[in-house]
């Protein structure tokens, strides 16, 4: 209404106002027309104004009223950064509750996301304070480029002095975040290195793996051993803490309007391992030698000891191992990172003879008292070749029991031939010596044994081999290699009968109940005859382990000497005890630990560990089933926990020494 009146008024006034001085009639008409046009134009401009304003208002209405929720969310996402709160990992304890892995306070340093150049500049400024070199900076930048929405973890293990240095220069490092977080620590350090593994930041490759689905970059995960095996339980669930940042990514406020989601700590895990036994193995192991030892309870498979030598300190991996330390470990010719107890294969040597004996008895080609046609004269002639016995003067004519006790090769050559290659291959295959024991560690080596004649054909050609391979296979040489654990599992099966348990490090009734799907399938009587022979190995003069028999318990076992291309033969011992009610089965190897027939380093190691374990478990000391010859001096047996000389005693033993 207002508009119209104004318009008309303008026209009325304009009549006189426009072009003063012109008074002619025709111009008055033109003037009137011009004023009409002017009034129309004013109306047009006003309408245009209202239309434009309406369009603007509608746009604002759409954004502010209809789109409010969406834009509010976007505004929050703009300025809120989610920082991960690392969950404390579960602790790991041994069977007696002693800590194998715990968490101590540690400081991590990370840089918030932002433009790549800003991130790089911050890293370069941080470099002198945390000891980064240029290459490491570029690596971190490259890592950030790959995942531009997450923070870059610079260091996981800041020293307090470094924390102080950065905090003092806070204004320089607006996008750097120092967080206190639980840091992994392994109190027993080197004693448990190969069991426990270690933890570190998840890497690109692991992020892609299905087992780490849902994990985010920067997360600490188990990288090996128990830490990796039980990652899902130990790891816990990270929490989220929101901070407010500005457009450049600098933190403006620690208190964001979104609530913090607390981290859920990981679950604790108890291992069957006996830390004392680990420590003892570490101290007893001949320091300059390599090898390993593993022991488990043959009744349920609880692994009480798993030790590999040389070892290392897993703590140096926490928060990222320095490249120098890593190079030292990786390039060490003694290969400390290798798990020799369950991850390495060795020719089983004479410990294998029990496998052949059991198969022979099962096939009915031999009994415990059977003598072989040829007496041992130090060698066995097969075709054009003489196969040697370790005892050059020969063992004479032995029964199976005697041959086990004295580890006579010549006897087992003939037993192998009598059994025949086909039955040997099939029997061993039935005992799954081509498989794994099933230990709960991420890595376990798979045993090797020729599965069939075809294997030989493929490997050597149809005419490239003869039945003579049977002879080597019968004494655990040739084309076979097994882990300590796998051999121990076989002896465990022998010790208790039936299907053996599956060795496992974690204490768990579920795991206790699991059984391997094979068994020796020997009647109990015959199995006991074999146990008796194994008992003689340790407890009767002339037995190959007699010099190292424990003082308190009657144990049984078999020595072994594994010929190998890397120097002196390896020294083996696989045994169990007490014989009447086996509580522990143990397998030990000392590489190149059998330089001559008077020294076999694995035997005293294994028997003293067995005795120590049985003592701590409170197993009552048992008598000695076989009379000790009075003339013989008592062999030195290291008391548990003392660092006895691990070298073989040479106390006048003439007939002792490991079998070959």
């Amino acid at each position: 209404m207002m508009r119209k009146r104004n318009g008309r008024g303008a026209a009325a006034r304009g009549l006189d106002g426009i072009r003063p001085g012109s008074g002619r009639h025709d111009t008055v008409g033109a003037r009137e027309a011009a004023l009409k046009v002017r009034a129309g134009r004013a109306r047009g401009a006003t309408i245009l104004l209202w239309v434009a304003m309406s369009i603007l208002l509608v746009s604002f209405f759409r954004l502010q009223i209809l789109g409010r929720e969406q834009y509010e969310l976007q505004s929050e996402e703009n300025r809120l950064r989610a920082l991960t709160i690392p969950p404390p990992r579960g602790t790991i304890t041994d069977r007696n509750g002693r800590l194998l892995a715990e968490n101590v306070p540690g400081y991590s340093l990370s840089v918030l996301p932002g433009p790549v150049d800003t991130v790089r500049a911050t890293l370069l400024r941080l470099a002198p304070h945390v000891g980064l070199d240029d290459d490491e900076v570029e690596e971190l930048v490259a890592e950030y480029r790959g995942r531009p929405s997450s923070s870059v973890v610079v260091r996981d293990n800041l020293e307090p002095a470094q924390v102080a240095a950065i905090e003092q220069r806070r204004p320089e490092f607006r996008t750097a975040v120092i967080e206190m977080h639980p840091r992994r620590y392994y109190p027993p350090a080197r004693q448990i290195a190969h069991v426990i593994g270690y933890v570190n930041e998840i890497n690109e490759a692991e992020l892609e793996q299905p087992q780490f689905e849902g994990y985010e970059s920067g997360r600490t995960i188990g990288k090996g051993g128990i830490e990796r095996q039980y990652e899902r339980e130990l790891g816990g669930t990270p929490g989220v803490h929101f901070v407010e940042v500005n457009a450049r990514g600098s933190i403006v406020s620690e208190f964001a309007p979104r609530p913090t989601i607390p981290a859920v700590p990981g679950g604790d895990i108890e291992l069957a391992l006996d830390l004392d036994l680990q420590a003892m193995a570490d101290s007893l192991f001949p320091d300059t030698m390599k090898g390993g030892v593993v022991a488990f309870d043959p009744r349920n498979g609880e692994v009480v000891l798993l030790y590999s030598h040389p070892t290392y300190d897993p703590n140096q991996f926490i928060g990222g191992i320095s490249s120098a330390d890593w190079a030292r470990l990786r390039d060490d010719p003694r290969q400390p990172l290798l798990n020799r107890a369950s991850g390495s294969l060795y020719p089983p040597g004479s410990t294998w003879k029990l496998v052949v004996a059991a198969l022979g008895m099962r096939a009915g080609v031999v009994t415990i008292d059977t003598h072989m046609p040829q007496s041992c004269t130090g060698a066995y002639q097969y075709g054009t070749r003489a196969f040697r016995c370790w005892k050059h003067v020969g063992h004479g004519n032995l029964s199976l029991a005697g041959a086990i006790k004295e580890s006579c090769n010549v006897f087992f050559y003939q037993l192998g031939l009598r059994l025949g290659l086909d039955r040997l291959l099939a029997g061993v295959d039935g005992l799954e010596f081509n498989g794994r024991a099933g230990l709960d560690l991420p890595v376990e080596a798979r045993g090797q044994f020729p599965p069939s004649r075809e294997w030989y054909d493929e490997r050597f050609g149809r005419r490239g081999w003869t039945e003579s391979v049977t002879l080597n296979l019968s004494i655990g040489q040739g084309e076979t290699a097994q882990t300590l654990l796998r051999m121990a599992q076989f002896y465990g099966a022998l010790a208790v009968g039936g299907s053996p348990p599956i060795p496992h490090l974690r204490r768990s009734e579920v795991l206790d109940a699991r059984r391997a799907d094979w068994s020796i399938e020997l009647p109990d009587e015959q199995r006991r005859q074999l146990l008796d022979a194994l008992t003689r190995v340790v407890n009767e003069p002339g037995g190959t382990a007699f010099a190292y028999r424990p003082s308190d318990y009657v144990v049984a076992g078999k020595t072994g000497t594994a010929q190998n291309p890397h120097g002196e033969p390896h020294s083996w011992f696989v045994g169990f005890g007490p014989v009447d009610d086996p509580r522990i089965v143990i397998a030990a190897i000392v590489e190149n630990g059998h330089p001559d027939n008077t020294v076999s380093l694995a035997v005293p190691l294994a028997t003293s560990l067995m005795q120590a374990y049985l003592r701590t478990e409170g197993v009552p000391a048992t008598g000695i089933p076989y009379p000790r010859p009075g003339s013989r001096p008592t062999p030195t047996v290291p008391a548990p926990g003392t660092a006895a000389p691990a070298g073989a005693p040479t106390t006048g033993a003439t007939t002792t020494g490991a079998g070959g």
Binding site: F60, I65, N78, R79, V245, A247, R248, V252
Partner: protein
């Protein structure tokens, strides 16, 4: 009382509305400096307040100068402003071009002065036009007057300001009563240039131009000339596009598709929309907009100050501020209508056109209705010389109201 006021300022509603907007502007500039991070905008509201005081004195002075003198001085003002526009190309500074002079802490954009000079010159020329002549040729003088500053500004390059010169010309012709079809013929090649990006759209436009010219039968030569000009504009559109600076291209492309470059050219628009959208009905509170506080909002004290209004005062604040602008602009139309002085009412209508265009382009760009250009919001955006020139214009409008 009212008569006294009217004698002093001509239209108390117009001047009062303008003063109110300028004060709101000071408040918004204060808010634009309230950030959680260091910002150039912190504390600048004091400088803007000082400029406002100066601007009020200038307003008082200008509104005391008789229109006759102003009309006489128009050619001189025009000549000086055009000369300055030429000079700034050689000596000036600015973002991505040369658009301002720097005197110590004070910078001055000659384009703002040139807008006034052009308005005055156009008003003088059109106000003295004796009869309506439907021929395009009769418009050669206003066209020439506009083309010179338009081209100089385009060379800076400042597309936004250049467009406002076009708006001034169209506004002046519109108000002077030039037939709409004549204006259409004049403007049509420019539209062809804008639509040249798409053959189909331009084709449709071109057919419409030809059809209208056929129906209205203007002078043959001019009709043919306009058709040829449209054809030529459509053809040179893409070579001309390639002549644009990259940031200008991006601004236009982002206008069509903000998601095109969300971290780069699209950033400003997206952040502005987020700021406005999250304001809701009542806003986040004066001074408390998180988008602004954390400096996600770019140019929050100049080009995007209206986004701060949207974020902090909400839809209600936007509604009130737009209503105030509508009131002011409406008063400008009324003043132009009431004015008996032909020069005067042309000046007022041209000022209306420029402010209206600034408002539409500036506010429109904060919500994505318009491409992003560096045009400030009159009375609100930070900028001393711009505020000064706005108040010179307001002074002229007041003088027109006083004299009618």
């Amino acid at each position: 009382m009212r008569e006294r006021l009217e004698r002093w300022v001509g239209d108390p509603g117009l001047v009062g509305g303008a003063l109110l907007l300028a004060l709101v502007g000071i408040g918004m500039i204060w808010s634009a400096g309230q950030l959680d991070v260091p910002s150039v905008a912190t504390g600048i509201w004091r400088r803007q307040l000082a400029w406002l005081v100066i601007a009020l004195f200038v307003f008082a002075f200008v509104s005391r100068v008789p229109l006759r003198w102003v009309e006489l001085g128009s050619p001189a003002a025009y000549a000086v402003s055009v000369a300055l526009l030429g000079a700034v190309l050689f000596t000036g500074g600015g973002r991505g071009g040369t658009s301002w002079f720097q005197f110590g802490a004070v910078s001055f954009q000659p384009a703002e002065l040139a807008k006034l000079g052009t308005i005055l010159m156009l008003a003088r020329v059109l106000g003295n036009r004796q009869e309506q002549d439907p021929r395009l040729v009769s418009l050669w003088r206003p066209l020439a007057i506009t083309i010179v500053p338009f081209s100089l500004v385009l060379l800076q390059p400042d597309l936004g300001s250049a467009i406002t010169f076009g708006v001034i010309l169209v506004g002046a012709l519109f108000w002077a009563g030039v037939p709409l079809f004549t204006i259409f013929m004049l403007v049509s090649p420019g539209v062809s240039l804008l639509l040249g990006f798409s053959v189909a759209v331009w084709g449709g436009w071109f057919i419409m131009v030809v059809g209208l010219i056929y129906l209205r039968r203007p002078y043959l030569i001019e009709g043919v000339g306009v058709v040829v000009a449209n054809l030529a504009a459509g053809l040179i559109a893409s070579p001309l596009w390639n002549q644009l600076a990259e940031y200008q291209q991006n601004r236009l492309l982002v206008f069509l598709d903000p998601g095109r470059d969300p971290r780069g050219a699209g950033w400003q628009l997206i952040q502005s929309q987020v700021a406005i959208g999250s304001g809701g009905l009542f806003g986040q509170g004066f001074g408390d907009g998180p988008q602004k506080r954390l400096s996600f909002l770019p140019e929050q004290h100049t080009d995007f100050i209206f986004s701060v209004v949207g974020e902090e005062l909400g839809f209600l604040g936007v509604l009130i501020l737009l209503a105030a602008f509508a009131w002011l602009l409406r008063r400008m139309i009324t003043t132009a209508t009431l004015a008996t002085n032909e020069f005067g009412n042309l000046v007022v209508f041209c000022l209306f056109s420029v402010w209206f265009a600034h408002l539409l382009i500036n506010v429109g760009m904060t919500v994505g209705l318009m491409p992003i250009t560096g045009l400030p919001l009159p009375f609100i955006s930070y900028g001393g010389s711009f505020l000064l020139m706005t108040f010179v214009g307001l002074g002229l409008a007041a003088r027109v109201a006083i004299e009618h």
